[in-house]
Amino acid sequence: MANVKEYARDKEGSNISKIVVDLDLCIGAASCIAVSEATYELNNENKAVVTDANAVDDETLIMSAESCPTKAILLFDKEGNQVFPK
């Protein structure tokens, strides 16, 4: 079982309903935080954690996931389809 952490998102008007961080892949590069510090922070184990899944719009959230050099952030829509990485 992959070591993942899931965060539900219920932002109005958003197509993304879940953010998943794969902790085995996360290396603490903090590129996601550079895009959206309102969404993520690093914990004391050097892993990205979501502090507010609803903080930003879909475009910024997708940019934050795209920025990850290890593809550790996965985004899902309401139907459970993976929006990123495609």
């Binding site: 603490g28 590129s31 922070e41 690093l42 004391n44 050097n46 050099p69 290890t70 593809k71």
Partner: protein, 413 residues
């Protein structure tokens, strides 16, 4: 002759992020990327265990699929080099003689691993960790090597020593010129934590010495150091910095120093020509000087900013630069200006004894200018925020030095 509204030289993280941002802001205009590599991949992943030791599929290294370029109408001209720039005609000539015309040009040419300046440095087994093709060669070499050396005291050597140990190489020796690891960017105490982790991980450390001779016929079999000591090795990883080869850019009339000189808008001295990423030597508004930085997040963020400027906004690049690396159970980060100048003071947070230690560097204006972190990544972005907001340190020393104090409480002050 192909004509592009936006032409990007360099398909790494700066160039690709710029293309992505350009496409978000301009759905129709033509965009092309010229790259000497097959397509965009994660340079960061190359030195991480998941990739290097094959724990994840090799193809995970690619950050952009081929279809991404077509879907976004980005012409990707791969496996070639730009060799000539004519700023007057607004053209770029490629290695194969093909000429491309641009309206706006981005030079995101990155850098190369600095070559080991010794006779015999072209022998087999001598490896670099800058690009995918180099790392593929290294991955093959570690399969058979019994002994290896790493040269340099930066993040390449640190991460690769761990990879080589994890790959099963019995003897790994680290050779550095410096008196201690990461000198002068780290202090002796922090460096000791790193050296202890290396030693505990089975790496031998040789300080204040250099290789003077490479042994072996076509393949490296060992090295001789300045002090005469001989070390047997079948693989050597060289991590001694980055070099930019910019003669063709200079010939076009663009001002260069070590990198391509740019202002805070990432504009070069010639109109409609921009630069971003490792090749940019830009005016850093946080540090107040021209700097050239070789790290992923800087390149990525500059890629975004430069694209916005190419689209017509006038946005200065302003970011507290930082980078992180991991190995031997440590995570190490540095942000801002970590040089401790004579007028600076250092506030220590945590300690080597609790295996969690940060140093916060405060200048004569009572403001934080930089910090180093070992196993304290939770502080990284908060300290960056304090740097960015010119937080005054006086009166807060005890809070800053208390490793359990939540730095978020200072942000609202």
């Amino acid at each position: 002759m192909n004509h592009y509204k936006y032409l990007i030289i360099g398909g790494g993280v700066a160039g690709t992020t710029a293309a992505e941002t350009l496409r978000r802001g301009d759905k129709e205009s033509s965009i092309a990327i010229v790259s000497d590599e097959p397509r965009m991949y994660s340079r960061i992943m190359l030195s991480k265990a998941n990739f290097f030791l094959g724990k994840i599929p090799f193809d995970n290294v690619w950050l952009k699929e081929e279809k991404w370029y077509t879907e976004n109408k980005i012409d990707f001209i791969g496996n070639t080099l730009a060799t000539k720039l004519n700023a007057q005609d607004k053209t770029i000539e490629l290695k194969d003689g093909k000429v491309l015309q641009y309206e706006k040009l981005l030079l995101a040419t990155g850098g190369e691993a600095r070559e080991w300046p010794l006779p015999g440095a072209d022998k087999k087994g001598i490896c670099y960790v800058r690009d995918l093709s180099q790392v593929k060669i290294l991955m093959e070499n570690v399969k058979t090597a019994k002994q290896a050396i790493a040269v340099g005291s930066g993040f390449v050597s640190f991460e690769m020593c761990e990879m080589m140990k994890m790959a099963g190489i019995e003897d790994v020796t680290l050779i550095m010129r410096e008196p201690y690891y990461w000198y002068p960017l780290l202090d002796k105490e922090s460096s000791q934590m790193i050296e202890d982790a290396l030693t505990k991980g089975g790496v031998k450390i040789i300080r204040e010495d250099e290789v003077k001779e490479i042994l072996g016929d076509s393949r490296i079999s060992g090295v001789v150091l300045n002090d005469g000591k001989k070390i047997d090795c079948q693989t050597a990883v060289i991590g001694i910095g980055l070099a930019c080869y910019l003669d063709w850019v200079k010939e076009a009339g663009i001002e260069i120093n070590k990198g391509i000189l740019a202002n805070e808008y990432l504009e070069t001295n010639l109109s409609d020509i921009y630069t971003a990423g490792d090749s940019a030597e830009f005016n850093d508004l946080i540090l107040g000087e021209k700097v050239q930085l070789g790290n992923w997040i800087n390149a990525q963020t500059q890629g975004r900013t430069v694209a916005k400027n190419m689209l017509g906004t006038h946005e200065a690049f302003k970011m507290v630069s930082f980078y992180t690396c991991i190995g031997f159970g440590l995570n190490i980060a540095m942000s801002g200006d970590v040089r401790v100048k004579t007028e600076c003071r250092v506030v220590k947070r945590g300690s080597p004894e609790i295996n969690s230690f940060a140093r916060i560097i405060v200048d004569c204006n009572d403001e934080i200018v930089g910090a180093t972190f070992i196993n304290r990544s939770q502080d990284l972005m908060l300290i960056n925020k304090l740097i960015e907001t010119n937080f005054k340190v006086s009166g807060h020393e005890s809070e800053l030095s208390d490793p359990n104090f939540d730095l978020k409480q200072l942000l609202s002050k």
